[in-house]
């Protein structure tokens, strides 16, 4: 898995970028560096497996602003912040906003790598969740409108009879729709169907 991960290093100090790159590459990761948050945002297109090591204090857009921008664009990328001084209120704010860690420069190899590994676990979780979500979405997309109606009522706990009455169709038709829903979504039972409905934001 390590070899697939990309570690983004975003810092306006060339010496910091250079030295951290050497360190992270030694661990076998691929590194991509940027001298500003703006340059990073410009090149970062889609979510990928990895994490970002971001300097908090940069000319132009700073680290916290970058985090806000990513959140605003629904990009889930684990961030490790580097800061010159231990600013506690700011670190609390960053962690609350989903940052993995808030490390003080100079940072030791051990601390940085622990955070990087933790960030990659988080990244993996995000991507898996995203993949599940997407597969559920594609299953749900196969359903007809009437099948979606039946599914929505079924997962709310309504009986076939009740669904038939509400939709103004026969009991038999409800049974046929429901069986098709179970087949198309691959759900094994009603509980499983409810989970799929939840993951697919139905």
């Amino acid at each position: 898995m390590n070899t697939e991960a990309t570690i983004f290093i975003i810092d306006d100090d060339p010496a910091i970028r250079d030295s951290l790159t050497l360190m992270v590459v030694q661990e076998g990761f691929t590194v991509s560096t940027f001298e500003s948050a703006e340059a990073f945002l410009e090149s970062f297109q889609t979510e990928r497996f990895g994490c970002a090591i971001v300097d908090l204090r940069m000319s132009g857009m700073d680290g916290m602003q970058l985090q806000e921008m990513l959140t605003k664009h629904h990009i889930q990328l684990p961030i490790i912040f580097l800061t010159g001084h231990g600013d506690i209120p700011m670190s609390v704010r960053a962690i609350r906003a989903g940052a993995i860690d808030f490390l003080t420069k100079p940072v030791t190899r051990e601390k940085l790598m622990t955070s990087v590994r933790f960030a990659l676990i988080e990244s993996e979780r995000i991507l898996t969740e995203r993949a599940t979500h997407q597969s559920v979405q594609s299953h749900l997309a196969e359903l007809t409108e009437r099948e979606r109606d039946v599914m929505a009522l079924a997962v709310q706990g309504h009986s076939n009879k009740e669904i038939a009455r509400q939709l103004g169709i026969s009991h038999r038709t409800v049974e046929i729709h429901k069986s098709k829903v179970m087949h198309k979504t691959g759900a094994t039972n009603l509980l499983d169907l409810a989970r799929i409905a939840h993951e697919g934001d139905l």
């Binding site: 306006d12 100090d13 060339p14 010496a15 910091i16 250079d18 030295s19 951290l20 050497l22 360190m23 030694q26 001298e35 500003s36 703006e38 204090r57 940069m58 000319s59 132009g60 700073d62 602003q65 580097l82 010159g84 001084h85 420069k105 100079p106 940072v107 030791t108 190899r109």
Partner: protein
């Protein structure tokens, strides 16, 4: 001249033109003459009043008394007002009564004794008195509203006349005057000298006599200390101060408020100084921490390479070179800082400005500020300038960094920075102009841009231009911002030539 005028003017004429009512009464108490004003006042014609007994002009109830008074006066005639302060009443022909003041003057014509009686309408005097009373009342009200006390220091007798308000402040009961010694005794000992100095200045006849001083007064009854603001004016007679007439106001609350404000201001100043110090320390810390962080990382890379035994010599070399360069960078930052703090010991040398500009361009690029295209216009073979190379380089780098940041912040379409180095013939100095393609500065920002700790950047500490200006001036030049309507900020600085 005077004599001839008087002889030509008959007594009768004077009598007729006088503005006051006059009656000439003989020693038997009969009216012999009445001037037109008197006739008008009493409502008689001359024929009617001529020979009339004077008592006919007095209400009946006073007549018998008047006989006696007239006899007493005849024995000892003198010029005096009649009635000794009592209200006198004249009876007019239509029986109406009129309040009057009467002056009596004995007058001998030939060997006959007369009395000249002059009548003023007392109503007029009363109105004046009334008006005076009203204005005194108004003054009192105003005085009370303003909390003013009034005092009048009589220099000749060394006493002070004062009003109730003053007595309240001084804690004196009801004496309308006080000795100067007692007056001063209540004044706070620390304030006496300053007060005396103000008085000494005011009593100098060469001064305008104005007096204004604040001091503390301690009330001996309640022990309360009050701040008093006094102001007044010295009156001079024949070049000597005779009176000091003035007002006093209790300003204790105002003084307390002033003190509180002063304390708050001092507190704010201390806070500001503390902030400045902490910002400065923070800036220095950043300058040093960055290379330290890089050195630490490079060293760990080298160590890891050696420990793992699988090191790539190129990478190891790179890491160690990086560590050395960063240690040098940290040292340089410290030296620049020290150089800045020891402006007095500036080491200058001759150098080519164009050459240092090129160095500055390289430094800016190496520091992550390379995203611009320089449009250079350099005067060839310009004479050498005199200054401190490190500082001049620092000024140039600062200006370039600012220009790049201004363009980045605005997402300017062009990233050109035009840099001109030329000889300014007018002042015979080297003149550098740096113009960026950013949005420029609004008037408010332009006004404050050189102030220490003024910044438009989210993370800046606002010392860059303040330091650059200080450095330029330390090198005998000037740094300024061009005020224009063009887009892009234009900075100029000058340096002296080495001659």
């Amino acid at each position: 001249m005077k004599d001839s005028l008087l002889t030509n003017l008959s007594v009768q004429t004077l009598f007729d033109v006088a503005a006051d009512a006059m009656l000439l009464v003989d020693d038997t108490g009969h009216v012999q003459q009445a001037n037109p004003v008197a006739l008008e006042l009493l409502g008689y014609t001359f024929e009617q009043i001529n020979g009339l007994e004077i008592e006919a002009l007095i209400p009946e109830s006073y007549r018998s008394q008047h006989h006696q008074h007239r006899n007493t006066y005849a024995k000892n005639p003198e010029k005096r007002p009649m009635g000794k302060g009592r209200d006198l009443v004249a009876l007019r022909r239509d029986r109406s009564e009129l309040a009057v003041d009467i002056s009596l003057s004995p007058l001998d014509i030939g060997n006959q004794h007369f009395v000249l009686a002059t009548l003023h309408i007392a109503d007029k005097r009363r109105k004046v008195e009334e008006a005076l009373k009203i204005s005194e009342e108004r003054l009192r009200l105003a005085k009370e509203a303003a909390g003013l006390g009034v005092f009048d220091f009589d220099y000749r007798h060394n006493i002070i006349h004062w009003d109730e308000r003053m007595r309240d402040i001084w804690g004196e009961e009801s004496e309308e005057t006080v000795s100067y010694k007692k007056f001063v005794a209540a004044i706070h000992p620390d304030d006496r000298v300053a007060r005396q100095a103000v008085i000494d200045r005011a009593i100098d006849p060469a001064s305008n006599g104005e007096y204004s001083v604040d001091y503390r007064v301690k009330n001996p009854n309640d022990g309360v200390e009050r701040w008093i603001a006094t102001m007044g004016r010295i009156h001079f007679t024949n070049g000597h101060a005779t009176r000091l007439l003035g007002v006093a106001r209790d300003i204790t609350e105002q003084k307390i408020l002033e003190k509180t404000l002063q304390e708050q201001r001092a507190e704010m100043e201390a806070l500001f100084k503390q902030q400045v110090a902490s910002q400065t320390v923070s800036a220095i810390a950043h300058e040093l921490n960055q290379p330290l962080a890089a050195i630490s990382a490079y060293s760990e890379v080298a160590l890891h390479a050696l420990n793992s035994g699988t090191f790539n010599p190129e990478n190891l070399k790179h890491a160690l070179e990086g560590a050395v360069a960063q240690a040098q960078r940290a040292g340089k930052s410290l030296h620049e800082l020290l150089a800045f703090m020891q402006k007095g010991q500036l080491v200058t040398e001759r150098f080519e400005l164009n050459h240092v500009l090129k160095e500055a361009l390289n430094i800016a690029k190496g520091d992550g500020y390379g995203d611009f295209s320089p449009l250079l216009s350099l005067e060839p073979a310009m004479p050498e300038v005199l200054g401190n190379v490190t500082q001049v380089r620092k000024i140039l780098v600062n200006l370039l960094r600012n220009a790049v940041e201004a363009m980045r912040g605005a997402g300017a379409p062009s990233s050109a920075i035009s840099i001109t180095v030329r000889t300014n013939q007018e002042i015979n100095m080297a003149h550098v102009t740096i113009q960026d393609s950013g949005p420029g500065l609004d008037a408010d920002t332009a006004k404050r841009i050189f102030e220490p700790f003024f910044t438009t950047k989210p993370t800046g500490i606002g010392m860059g231009l303040a330091i650059s200006r200080a450095l330029t001036e330390a090198n005998g030049g000037q740094l300024w911002l061009e005020q224009n309507n063009k887009p892009g900020a234009t900075f100029h600085f000058t340096l002296p030539f080495a001659t």
